[in-house]
């Protein structure tokens, strides 16, 4: 069994899709459908990578969780791959401002736009896990 990856997204079809993609490479996949469930899953067992949606039960649920994790000494090292259907180019001011998402102070490791290209996702996951030394 490969690395333990936690998917947090309220779109169950997407969760399933990602699950199928990841399981094709033998990653261990867990899923949660909002920030709260996600946090519970993280405290239960720290995953090697989190794939996190932005807008779930609230518009900023994903970011709220990401910041919460960054502020917790136990969790700040977990890499986060963030997904959003809000195209980066169109980002406006406010919490959904993704323009500087990978800059300093941002709680996520990488940012991807939906829809998900299976090959790209797998490459990204592999890269992150390798960089973090978790494979």
């Amino acid at each position: 069994m490969g690395a333990d990856i936690l998917i947090i997204d309220d779109d169950r079809d997407l969760v399933n899709t990602i699950r199928i993609i990841l399981e094709s490479r033998d990653y261990g996949v867990r899923a949660a459908h909002n920030g709260e469930e996600g946090y519970a899953a993280i405290t239960e067992k720290i995953p090697d990578l989190i794939i996190l949606d932005v807008m779930m039960s609230t518009d900023t649920d994903g970011f709220d969780l990401a910041y919460k994790l960054k502020n917790s000494p136990h969790h700040r090292d977990i890499p986060i791959l963030m997904l959003s259907s809000f195209p980066q180019k169109m980002a406006e001011k406010g919490p959904e401002s993704f323009q500087h998402i990978l800059g300093e102070g941002w709680p996520v490791t990488e940012f991807h736009e939906k829809p998900i290209d299976p090959d790209e996702l797998l490459d990204a996951v592999e890269d992150i896990l390798r960089d973090e030394g978790r494979t």
């Binding site: 997407l14 899709t17 199928i20 094709s24 259907s85 180019k89 406006e92 829809p115 290209d117 299976p118």
Partner: protein, 626 residues
């Protein structure tokens, strides 16, 4: 600019008269002395018996003195801050001098019987206008003393009698003493009456100008307040964040009303509680009291029913939910008004003063105007933010399922769920493409919607258009060669910058360039030119050898969801919104766009955009200037 009341003060104040008349008096003296001298000599040649030599010497002496006065005046007026006191002394000296000279002339032209005696009246009037009332009466007294002295000296023959030029009406030369006395008393009462009339009239004029001054001062004060209010509303109308707006409102309100603090409290959805949304000049402790239960706060309950509330002296405990805090905060008086739009009340606007009984009826009127305008601004912004929120939410909700379906199609297409045969692959690919177009439509609609809602030109800054086109070149060159289209870019450097934001220019360029590539068949060319049309106007041109636009369809080119018939046949992809976005951006930037096209031959879009005026031409080697 000088305030109105100051202008009126300067114009109406009698001291101005005094200063201005100082020079006028000197000029008048030249004329009168000259005229008297000429008249004296004409009289002499007509054989009148007056002592022409003495008179001439006297007039020359006056002229000499007047030259001295002229010098003094010049020195006085050359001072940077001339003192009114000096002008008053100067006026006294001149009037006294004139009076002495006049008495000499009167004596030389026949003493009290001289017809020139009547001229003393002018001195009374002059002193009455220019100097204080007391001075006027003093001059009247001096004139009477002088006249009496003349009578005594003449009657007692101490002064040698002079020939009477013409018989005076006042004191005919052959009179008995009782008659002279009676005539003198008449003369005295005329002089005093003149002094009285002049000084009374002047006092009443002064009083009137003082009240005019007071009125204009009040007008100026309210004008200043209204101007400040206008500036405040202008500032808050420009806010595009809710908190910025209410913070700006409280800050400005406290400043304009001249008070220590101000707050805006907003009602919750249940209309049960008020929460401090913004405060200015109040302590954190006070603010931290936070929520006010309106059922426990009779004041706020009253305000929320629509009436205003002022309290001149805070002492009674039962008014407030937290009376100790009000006192601790140093609030001595306060005024609160409802924030409402039409009949809908949604909050309370308060100002707090550390002075008791600070707010008068005028303040209530003015503050309610301010509260109404603030409420409208708040409501407008709320509506705008709601629209933006709705658009973004709607776009997200529409895009999410598309993204999910696209992701699932990719899963199948890429063989993650088993093999796919060619027929299935073709159908699934078409599905994937149609979904992509749907996604584009949603993106374009959102862009357009957001552009139409927010007119925030404050965030415009000088944009380097060359930089943007360069990055688009990298993006579109591969796509062009994929389609077998030859693409050329001609960019002049430097070019004027444009006041905009990068996204707008990016949308504008990208839409025109991608359209050209999309509608140009393999083997064709797309030529992109970016150059200076004039010193402060750039020209962006995209010319292709593509399918062109039918002439009949050109007028509808920039309308929503329009796609030319031949375009639909040529390519399925296209939202019908690209050119609408282009037009929107061009309009926003106050530019122009024109199109020339011939079906089957090609299309040329020419877009002219005004440069950032004050910036002019700049080499783009300094991108960090802003």
């Amino acid at each position: 600019m000088k305030q109105g009341y100051q202008l009126i003060k300067e114009q109406l104040f009698f001291r101005k008269e005094l200063v201005e008349r100082a020079y006028w008096l000197i000029n008048l003296r030249w004329v009168v002395t000259g005229a008297a001298l000429v008249a004296g000599w004409i009289g002499h040649f007509l054989d009148l018996k007056h002592p022409i030599v003495s008179l001439t010497i006297l007039f020359l002496f006056v002229a000499l003195n007047n030259a001295a006065f002229s010098l003094i005046w010049r020195r006085l007026s050359a001072r940077e801050h001339p003192e009114v006191r000096h002008y008053a002394i100067f006026a006294h000296v001149q009037i006294t001098f004139d009076l002495l000279v006049l008495f000499c002339v009167i004596y030389l032209t026949g003493g009290i019987s001289s017809p020139l005696l009547i001229f003393v009246i002018f001195h009374i009037i002059l002193a009455g206008i220019l100097l204080a009332p007391a001075s006027c009466f003093i001059y009247a007294g001096l004139i009477l003393l002088g006249t009496a002295g003349l009578i005594v000296l003449q009657e007692s023959s101490i002064l040698p009698p002079q020939p009477v030029l013409f018989q005076s009406l006042l004191f005919p030369s052959t009179q008995s003493l009782p008659n002279v006395l009676a005539l003198y008393l008449t003369f005295a009462s005329a002089i005093l009456l003149t002094a009285f009339l002049v000084t009374t009239l002047k006092s009443s004029l002064r009083a009137k100008s003082r009240s005019l001054l007071a009125v204009s001062k009040e007008l100026d004060a309210s004008n200043t307040k209204l101007t400040a209010l206008y500036e405040m509303i202008k500032e808050i109308e420009l806010c595009n964040e809710f908190q910025d707006l209410i913070d700006s409102a409280t800050r400005n309100a406290a400043r304009i009303m001249g008070v220590k603090g101000c707050s805006i409290k907003l009602l919750d959805d249940q209309r049960k509680r008020l929460t401090f949304a913004s405060t200015h000049g109040l302590s954190e402790d006070y603010k931290a009291k936070g929520v006010i239960d309106i059922d426990k706060s009779p004041i706020n309950l009253k305000i929320l029913k629509g009436s205003f509330f002022t309290i001149g002296k805070i002492q009674k405990d039962d008014y407030f939910q937290y009376p100790e805090d009000v006192r601790k905060e140093g609030i001595a008086s306060m005024m609160c008004l409802p924030l409402r739009v039409e009949k809908m009340i949604f909050g309370v606007f308060c100002v707090y003063s550390d002075i008791e009984h600070f707010f008068g009826p005028d303040d209530v009127k003015f503050f309610s105007l301010m509260a109404d305008l603030t409420a409208i601004a708040i409501e407008n912004l709320k509506r705008e933010l709601n629209k933006i929120w709705f658009l973004k939410k709607a776009a997200h909700q529409l895009r999410s399922p598309i993204g999910a379906v696209q992701s699932m199609l990719d899963l199948i297409l890429k063989g993650y769920q088993g093999d796919v045969d060619d027929h299935q692959r073709e159908t699934l690919t078409r599905c994937r493409k149609r979904l992509a177009v749907l996604g584009d439509v949603i993106n374009d609609l959102l862009k357009l919607g957001l552009k139409r809602i927010s007119t925030d030109e404050r965030e415009y800054h000088p944009v380097d258009v060359i930089e943007i086109l360069k990055s688009l070149e990298d993006l579109y060159r591969p796509r062009a060669s994929e389609n077998g289209v030859d693409m050329t870019f001609r960019v002049d450097d430097p070019l004027p910058r444009i006041m905009a934001d990068e996204k707008m220019i990016d949308d504008l360029f990208a839409n025109l360039v991608s359209n050209a590539i999309k509608y140009t068949p393999s083997g064709g060319t797309v030529a992109v030119t970016l150059c200076a049309e004039t010193a402060n106007r750039i020209r962006f041109e995209v010319a292709d050898t593509g399918i062109g636009i039918p002439e009949s369809e050109i007028p509808r080119l920039f309308s929503e969801f329009f796609r030319a018939e031949n375009a639909k046949v040529f390519s399925e992809e296209g939202t019908g919104l690209g050119l609408v976005i282009v037009k929107e951006v061009v309009d926003r930037l106050k530019g122009t766009i024109s199109v020339e096209s011939r079906e089957g031959e090609g299309t040329r879009f020419v877009c002219l955009l005004p440069g950032a005026k004050d910036l002019g031409m700049r080499p783009r080697t300094t991108p960090d200037e802003r």
